[in-house]
């Protein structure tokens, strides 16, 4: 249909309206703020958005599947608590800076296991993912509080908190990790059989079953991916703070879903992509950063984001009405 050589930017923007929005807010803040258009600030935006962005990558897969994961904020908090706490365990006391390694591995493993648990329950019980992960969100958050004794953990090894300040060449390490993960998930979704199946399962589950896709294990893998990404996000966030608080990541599920929906992924499944999600994440990041630089109180960001979310939904409905093909009553 479309030839890669005649790339039409206007048509591309029509299909990815969120990038039009990103462009507009980018130009807007560049004009009105003296500090926005600055290389340092761009680095900041990437680092700030990496937390929500990483989870949003996983959420895109899960939502294209027609599922949702509300437990990501809690998984993030538990992983962060593990990452900070385990490195101070007595058995790693003589490991020097290597004590960080088992801590981070364990934290990531916790994320994968909890994701697998969510996926397994969705698969075997047939209970809606919304309910399963709503329960998990409460339960895992409870686990965080019980595990931490409602205290914050502080990283005693300064190599851990120094990590977030590292840069490779022009880019901060955290931004690099985020960008690499974005590329990786984009590759999985657009170039692999797993990605094809993700669309198939979300688009028409019955047809996917008939085509021989094992829907249950497939969905479980996607829940494991989002669990891993949420845990990774928690680890990176705790390196930024040098600490893990039990309330870490609260409400993140809402921000993440907002970013993914802004990026054009449908809650009903079958539609969406990483390019859109990346745009959604950047839109939120630039908006928060830019308004911060203009010293607009953070309160207004909530109102603006909420309004944009609803506006996007409204415009989408208006312009894609014919695509629904449904009965309008």
């Amino acid at each position: 249909m479309s030839n890669p050589t005649d790339f039409n930017p206007v048509r591309w923007l029509m299909r990815n309206p969120i990038w039009g929005f990103v462009l507009i807010v980018f130009i807007f803040f560049s004009l009105v703020s003296d500090h926005f258009f600055d290389y340092r600030n761009f680095q900041n935006i990437l680092v700030q958005t990496s937390t929500i962005g990483l989870i949003a990558l996983g959420m895109t897969l899960v939502m294209i599947n027609g599922n949702i994961d509300l437990s990501v904020g809690a998984i993030l908090a538990l992983a962060a608590a593990f990452a900070v706490d385990v490195q101070s365990w007595a058995m790693f006391a003589t490991w020097g800076n290597w004590q960080i390694l088992p801590a981070v591995c364990l934290a990531l493993l916790v994320g994968i296991v909890l994701g697998a648990l969510n996926g397994f329950i969705v698969w075997k019980t047939g209970v809606d993912a919304f309910i399963v992960t709503l329960g998990a969100m409460l339960g895992i958050r409870g686990l965080v509080f019980v595990y931490t004794g409602e205290q914050s953990f502080y990283a005693m090894n300064f190599a851990y908190s120094d990590f977030s300040a590292l840069s490779v060449g022009p880019l901060p390490v955290l931004a690099i990790i985020f960008l690499l993960c974005t590329l990786a998930v984009h590759w999985v979704l657009s170039r692999t059989a797993h990605g094809r199946n993700t669309y198939a399962v979300g688009g028409n589950r019955e047809a996917a079953v008939n085509a021989g896709i094992r829907v249950g294990p497939h969905m479980m893998v996607n829940f494991m991916i989002i669990g891993f990404l949420a845990a990774l996000s928690g680890v990176l966030l705790s390196t930024q703070m040098g600490a893990a608080t039990p309330n870490l990541g609260r409400d993140y599920e809402l921000w993440v879903i907002t970013a993914v929906v802004l990026g054009g992924t449908k809650l009903t499944g079958g539609k969406g992509d990483i390019i859109g999600t990346f745009g959604g994440v950047l839109a939120i990041g630039i908006l928060r950063n830019g308004m911060n630089l203009m010293q607009v109180p953070a309160f207004y960001v909530y109102v603006i984001l909420g309004s944009i979310l609803i506006a996007v939904l409204f415009l989408d409905k208006r312009f894609n009405r014919t695509a629904d093909g449904g009965l309008r009553l």
Binding site: W123, G139, I140, G142, V146, V215, D251, L254, P297, K317
Partner: protein, 322 residues
Amino acid sequence: MTRLKAGGPAIAKQGILVAFIVFMIAFSLMSDRFLSLDNFMSVFRQAAIIGVMALGVTIVVIGGNLDLSVGSMLSFATVLVVDLHDKIGPELAIPVMVLATLCLGAINGFLIGILRLNSLIVTLGMLSAIQGLVLIYSGGQNVDIADQSGTWFAIFGRGAMFGIATPIIIFGTMALVFHIIMTTMPFGRKVYAVGGNPTASVFSGIPRSRVVFTTYLISALCVAVAAMILGSRVMGSQNNVGQGYELQVLAAVILGGTSLLGGAGSILKTVLGVLMLAFIQNGLILMGQPYYTQWLVTWVVIIVAVWLDVAAKRGRLFSPIA
């Protein structure tokens, strides 16, 4: 259909009731302070705020939609009524707060009922927007009532009638009224019809848009009542007091067996779900468990309860998904 065959699923459908009884017996055995009128009354009183909100959300969910905005709406209403209490007096503050909250509900209802936008996303957006409104209104400050002992506003949260705390009376009365509306009145039947099969309901002449719109007004009204209880009990309000309530409320509604697909559910079972969560919290604390253990138990209880419900409907325990 033998009686045996019909009997199996029938019990499974009452899963929440069975679980409730099991928990009550277990807690009674494990703590000698659990089974007492005083304790029950304090549990009911604590459950009243989430309970009142859950009544409204139940009706929204039966109508086939979700309402995630009730948490920040509660912050909004509580901050507003507490702040206005000292400025214009309680007799004006209450109607202003109720009207303002109903306006928010009307916005929800307009976007979801009339414009037919996805309720999860709309109320998610409203959650964020209303939280922002509260922070702008309060300037990020917490509010409180100066004269806490001299105001009649105290009756909603601290008062009692016939030895029963007012929050319990409010919750009980509203539950009863809503139950009657949903089971015997045309409006109740319309909500079930709209949630069960939207297309069919329109063909049967039910004004779908108006019904959905009304469910959100009811939900907002419930939030306003909950805010009165909360504001009166605390005599002040943090600007994010309702944060996270939406999901606890939803947990109670789901636990009560209301289907997120719409068209099925009951007010009385929501009350059971609310009480169950409250008793789990109370029982575990009396047993000396850390406060947050209740959330772990809630996790298991919600999934098992819904699982049994779903399993009873499809006639087999495990999902047929390959």
